[in-house]
């Protein structure tokens, strides 16, 4: 068991090791997996959206259209009217995280189990949140926003700039790591039937929930920023 966990948690994440900066510039395996996910998603998008028609639409087109409207409704509903312009980005993030979380079903290590990917995602989120606030309020009002509701808590508000993305990336990373570790342990203890049943929960359900939570919190922050 210990070897298993060691193998899972302490394995070398580097796909290409660059002998400079003490591993800071390595290309990790998780990035390669995201390339695979991206490739699959590109092919899927290009296949599903080819020869769209205005009338007499195919079932494929109807499904794609209703999916797009549905996922926009989900993210748009969380963002509110003022920040509705960011709904497409958040929909893409939702699809990306959900696909990353569920790729464990196909035998890959989920990229979201790597801190690097979740750090990148939460960096993008906090940049988007602050950019949305800046765009909406302007520089002066945005700075003043740190002293609200009262100037005393300004340090807290500044700290939030770091705390929010940290919590976002740690939550996603921890959940997916935990789910994967538990799945590995179950596979080790009871290799028949149980892994298949429980992977429905840990891979599909938990993966979708974590993707939703990430997008939900990001849109909450954006909504707060543009108010």
């Amino acid at each position: 068991m210990k070897e298993l966990l060691n193998e899972l948690l302490k394995e070398d994440k580097a796909f290409i090791h660059i002998p400079y900066g003490n591993g800071l510039f390595d290309l990790y395996k998780s990035v390669v997996v995201t390339w695979i996910i991206l490739g699959v998603l590109f092919l899927l998008i290009l296949f599903l959206t080819r020869d769209f028609k205005v009338h007499n639409i195919s079932k494929r087109q109807a499904a794609v259209e209703s999916f797009v409207l549905w996922i926009r409704g989900v993210t748009g509903g969380m963002l509110g009217e003022e920040a509705i312009r960011y709904q497409d980005y958040l929909a893409v993030v939702l699809i990306f995280i959900a696909a990353s979380n569920m790729i464990g079903l196909f035998g890959f290590t989920p990229p979201t189990m790597d801190l690097t990917v979740t750090v990148a995602l939460s960096l993008m989120s906090i940049i988007l949140v602050e950019a949305a606030g800046l765009r909406k309020k302007g520089l002066g009002k945005w700075f003043k926003g740190f002293a609200e509701p009262m100037p005393v808590i300004a340090p807290m508000n500044v700290l939030e700039l770091a705390i929010r993305p940290l919590s976002l990336c740690m939550r996603l990373f921890g959940n997916i790591l935990g789910a994967t570790v538990i799945m590995e342990l179950i596979k080790h203890v009871a290799p028949v039937i149980f892994p298949a049943l429980l992977s429905v929960y840990f891979d599909i359900f938990d993966g979708a929930i974590q993707a939703y939570v990430f997008v939900f919190l990001t849109s909450l922050y954006i909504k707060e920023a543009v108010e």
Partner: protein, 163 residues
């Protein structure tokens, strides 16, 4: 486990942005284009329907005006015809009157002529009778007695003829 790599973070951000732009262009863009086109068609249909309704209304008003005009024309024509009819009636009646008067006059004239003719015939008969009587008187020798008888006979004869 917790070590991170700047290059990998950069690559992930790049991947995410790439996915976003591809999805924006192909997935959302294509769906939006179709929906926009559909919306445009609906707008067009609504606009043309509005136009058609407006046109129909205009045409209706036009027709109503025309019908009113025609009604007015009809009234004029009927009154004209009525007037003409009265004139014709008057003419016919007056013609008939004239004719009737003429007929009456002619009848009167004919009656007078007949009367005259009858009178003449009667006078001629009287003359014949007088001549007859005179010749009878002349032919027979007569006394005053005979004369008296003759007078009586003449009177009786004249009375019979006159009846």
């Amino acid at each position: 486990m917790l070590n991170i790599s700047i290059l990998s973070i950069g690559c992930t951000i790049f991947n995410l942005l790439l996915l976003f732009f591809v999805a924006k262009k192909f997935l959302f863009g294509r769906v939006d284009a179709v929906i926009a086109k559909r919306m445009e068609e609906v707008d067009d249909a609504t606009r043309s329907a509005d136009e058609a309704a407006h046109k129909a209304l205009t045409t209706q008003v036009e027709y109503e005006n025309k019908i009113a005009e025609i009604d007015a024309q009809k009234e004029t024509i009927i009154s004209d015809i009525k007037k003409q009819g009265y004139v014709e009636y008057e003419r016919i009646v007056s013609d008939a009157k004239k004719k009737g008067e003429q007929i009456i006059m002619e009848a009167r004239h004919n009656a007078e002529v007949e009367n005259e003719r009858a009178k003449e015939v009667y006078a001629a008969q009287l003359t014949d009778m007088v001549i007859d009587a005179a010749s009878k008187i002349a032919a027979t020798k007569h006394s005053s007695e005979d004369d008296m008888k003759l007078y009586d006979k003449f009177i009786v004869e004249a009375g019979v003829n006159n009846e």
